[in-house]
């Protein structure tokens, strides 16, 4: 009885405190946000970085979207955006969308099904290069199952798939899947994009700022609340955070405030609202299995057994980072294996000393020991968030007769080196655009993927990835995903050291911000954001 009363009281309080701000939303004002670096371009489809998604998502709309009122991006919480409804044919190979009518691009031209066709024909590589809406296509792999896009009049479009793929709709719901306009050249989309979204681009000054203003013709009536959003590009993090503390910015860049920095921010701006959340960016160990002696499975296994993930988390994030396998762990992650399964994976066992003893035996078997250590170079991108875990890794590998030397690589050639396999061992961070097995597995572990940096090839895993991708029974699919996670961990495909957790802060006057917990790349439409002043 007491419990029920408490729940009733809490519900009343939540109604009073929670409901009143909803009624008090105010229109107007400019939201000022700091940006961490120069976005390579403004074309979301051509880039793979939050530096582009966060500022430019507000310019576009998708067909469907992860519900912005939900913390977890889930296939069960997808809402219509430029599509009004969708349906599958009986064998789940045709996905048909009825499109919203009366929507206009920012230049006044009408949005039609032709724009949807243009966009996905370009993304799937069905368009000749000179007619494509994009110059480069980092997510072509997402649409390898897309056979055709058919229009039926101006407001209906059908995606024809090669086989059932439940993740297809999920991929359309992410921040990386905006609809582009057929009539806007790719060069324009990279510099001053035109969308249907709540905000229009006024100016994108490289190294300086991105200015967006309210789209007065936005199809969702009453939105957005803000008049404008000003992004100021401030590459130096100390300056960015000082700018936030001094009131020059209303909000920090996504996940810009690490736990050690949070104390400083709070000390100078006690009323700052700061929220920690997983970024779905994992720190992971890359072992190039094409290079000697790492073509020896014993050495790869020894390396993963030497890892003490908790030590990484304690040092890097004061213990806030999450331990997980290939998919972000629950409850924030939708697909990750249950916590109780994790200790069965190499590198996640609770008894580190036992694991390291086993690792030392494996190293001795491979011909290394205290008198004959294995000397290696550990390559990493030359920025702090990469270098710091690499230094800890070097320290931990010493325990098993591996002497590592840090090889910091200039940011701009880091991915080139990885793509060419020009490294022995690397410390890498991998962001996953959508918390979805197809997105993660096909990009990072499928044998033919260009981003399979460790050159991991396992026919059985490829088949399992394809099988889970076509599986319509959610629970059955989850079990398949966990099985794949286990095989990848046992094979030391790309050992996961941890999932980053970091803070985003804003001034208390900024309202209507809801950070989604299983990907930083989604949820930045900002049409519900408003300023209480």
């Amino acid at each position: 009885m007491r419990m029920r009363l408490a729940i009733l009281a809490a519900s009343c309080a939540a109604f009073v405190t929670g409901a009143s701000p909803v009624l008090a939303q105010k229109a107007g004002g400019t939201l000022r946000i700091s940006h961490r670096d120069n976005p390579p371009s403004a074309s979301i489809h051509e880039e793979s970085t939050i530096s582009v998604n966060q500022p430019f998502m507000a310019v576009f709309n998708n067909l469907v979207f992860f519900d912005p009122n939900e913390k977890v991006n889930s296939p069960d919480k997808i809402v219509p955006e430029l599509a009004e409804s969708w349906s599958y044919n009986p064998d789940q190979t045709q996905l048909t969308f009825k499109l919203r009518q009366g929507v206009k691009w920012h230049d006044g031209k009408p949005f039609t099904s032709a724009d949807v066709k243009c966009t996905w024909d370009s993304l799937a590589g069905h368009t000749p290069d000179d007619k494509s809406l994009i110059r480069k296509n980092p997510r072509k792999l997402w649409y390898s199952n897309l056979k055709e896009v058919k229009t039926n009049g101006d407001f209906e479009v059908t995606f024809v798939l090669g086989r059932p793929q439940p993740s297809f709709l999920t991929m359309l719901a992410g921040g990386y899947s905006p609809v582009y306009a057929c009539h806007v050249p790719d060069r324009v989309m990279r510099s001053k994009p035109i969308g249907t979204g709540p905000f229009k681009v006024v100016d994108f000054k490289r190294n300086e700022s991105i200015k967006l203003v309210k789209n007065p013709d936005y199809w969702r009536k009453g939105r957005p609340y803000l008049d404008a959003i000003d992004w100021k590009i401030v590459p130096n993090r100390s300056t960015r955070l000082l700018g936030f503390q001094s009131g020059e910015f209303d909000m920090t860049f996504d996940s810009d405030v690490t736990f050690p920095l949070l104390k400083d921010v709070k000390a100078n701006k006690a009323d700052a609202v700061c929220e920690a959340r997983p970024t779905n960016v994992s720190s992971n160990l890359l072992v190039n299995r094409d290079k000697e002696p790492f073509n020896n499975a014993d050495i790869r296994r020894a390396m993963v057994l030497a890892l003490d993930n908790k030590a990484f988390h304690d040092i890097l994030s004061q213990g806030h980072d999450l331990d997980g396998a290939v998919m972000l762990p629950p409850p924030d992650g939708f697909w990750g294996m249950p916590k109780e399964m994790l200790p069965t994976l190499p590198g996640h066992a609770p008894d580190i000393e036992k694991s390291r003893a086993e690792a030392r035996e494996l190293m001795k078997k491979a011909g290394y020991g205290p008198d004959k250590p294995l000397k290696i170079k550990i390559a990493t991108r030359n920025i702090a968030i990469y270098r710091d875990p690499a230094v800890i890794l070097i320290d931990q590998l010493k325990q098993i007769y591996i002497e590592g030397e840090l090889e910091p690589i200039d940011t701009t050639v880091w991915y080139t080196k990885l793509a060419r396999g020009d490294y022995q061992v690397g410390m890498n961070l991998t962001g996953v655009g959508i918390d979805d097995p197809d997105v993660n597995f096909y990009e990072n572990y499928y044998s033919t993927s260009d981003r399979n940096y460790t050159r991991y090839k396992n026919e059985k895993v490829d088949k399992l990835i394809d099988a889970q991708s076509a599986e319509l029974d959610r629970e059955k699919r989850k079990k398949m995903v966990w099985e794949i996670e286990k095989i990848l961990a046992d094979d030391v495909a790309r050992p996961i050291i941890g999932y980053n957790v970091a803070n985003t802060c804003w001034d208390p006057k900024v309202k209507g911000i809801l950070l989604q917990v299983n990907s930083i790349y989604n949820g930045w439409r900002l049409e519900d954001a408003w300023l209480d002043k």
């Binding site: 072509k140 000054k205 701009t412 793509a419």
Partner: protein, 314 residues
């Protein structure tokens, strides 16, 4: 004098030509190009590299690329920036006045503090004031600009609750000057320390000369001896160092433009190098080389004005 100027001009042209070849070749020796970076960083299909390289013209023979660049430069066409895909001149031109103002103010600040304090320090040798100024100048030489810049920003937040964020549309001259004065002071502090130390040692040397003693024995006032007789002769090495500092200010500007978030030439150059944005880097480095060559020329001319014994001629 006329033939000297002609020779000097030809030498400048030769120097700039040498620089252009050097920059061009060195840039292409650095591993990776824009096509690699664009494609690999985004994880796109490596096959797309060739298409982008062709589109940007970086797959042409290097000599052809050089001739095309120099030909364009001579016509005032700086080419297209690879990353922004806009004419390079449109990217570079708005940033030049920002960095020029910052550099000018920094040098002004450095000379304004460095020369008078150097003179005072020399005239009051071994006094408490001299020791104090020497400590200040030593600190100026030893404090890294980025650290000093951050310290200034932190103090600004702590004491005034604000920081000088750059505004590309300042409300009038005064706001423009106020906005740039802190960063300029940070850049100029190191130069002022150097100028102060050099002025002091140069002054001390001159003050020991016979003609200074003669001037004093003739009853000239301290001010007249120090400023009319000694300072002018002590200034020659100081002018040299001011010239060198002005030419090498770009290094200091990179740090300061980053810390104070000023969208000037120096920060843009670093960004362009990281992206291997050849048209931007080549043209900016040429611009810097031109400034250095011109500053050297002006310093040489200043020698003549300061010391009539120096003649440049046949």
């Amino acid at each position: 004098m006329g033939s000297y100027l002609v020779r000097r001009f030809l030498l400048m042209v030769l120097t700039l030509f040498g620089m252009s070849v050097l920059i061009f070749v060195m840039l292409r020796l650095v591993p990776g190009n824009i096509a690699d970076i664009l494609v690999d960083a985004s994880g796109a299909d490596p096959k797309e590299k060739a298409r982008i390289a062709h589109e940007l013209g970086i797959d042409r023979p290097i000599a052809e690329q050089y001739v095309s660049w120099i030909g364009g430069l001579s016509r005032g066409d700086l080419g297209f920036a690879y990353v922004s895909e806009r004419p390079a001149i449109e990217e570079i031109a708005p940033r030049i006045p920002i960095s020029a103002k910052l550099a000018g103010m920094a040098i002004f600040f450095a000379v304004l503090l460095g020369v008078p304090f150097g003179v005072i320090s020399a005239v009051k040798q071994n006094s408490s004031l001299d020791y104090f100024l020497r400590v200040i100048s030593l600190s100026g030489l030893s404090l890294p600009s980025f650290w000093l810049g951050l310290l200034v920003l932190m103090a600004s937040v702590q004491w005034f609750g604000t920081i000088p964020i750059y505004d590309s549309n300042p409300h009038g001259f005064l706001q423009d000057v106020a906005m740039l004065s802190l960063p300029a002071a940070v850049v100029g502090f190191r130069s002022s320390a150097l100028i102060m130390r050099l002025t002091r040692s140069s002054m001390l040397e001159v003050l020991r000369q016979d003609y200074v003693r003669t001037a004093r024995s003739k009853g000239a006032s301290n001010a007249s001896v120090n400023y009319d007789h000694a300072l002018r002769n002590a200034l020659l090495p100081v002018v040299t160092i001011i010239g060198i500092e002005a030419a090498f200010l770009v290094g200091g500007l990179i740090v300061t433009e980053t810390v104070f978030n000023i969208p000037g030439v120096a920060r843009f150059l670093v960004e362009a190098i990281l992206w291997r944005d050849y048209p931007i880097v080549q043209n900016l480095v040429m611009l810097i080389a031109f400034v250095v060559v011109m500053v050297n020329f002006l310093v040489d001319m200043a020698y003549m004005a300061l010391d009539p014994r120096i003649k440049f001629g046949d």
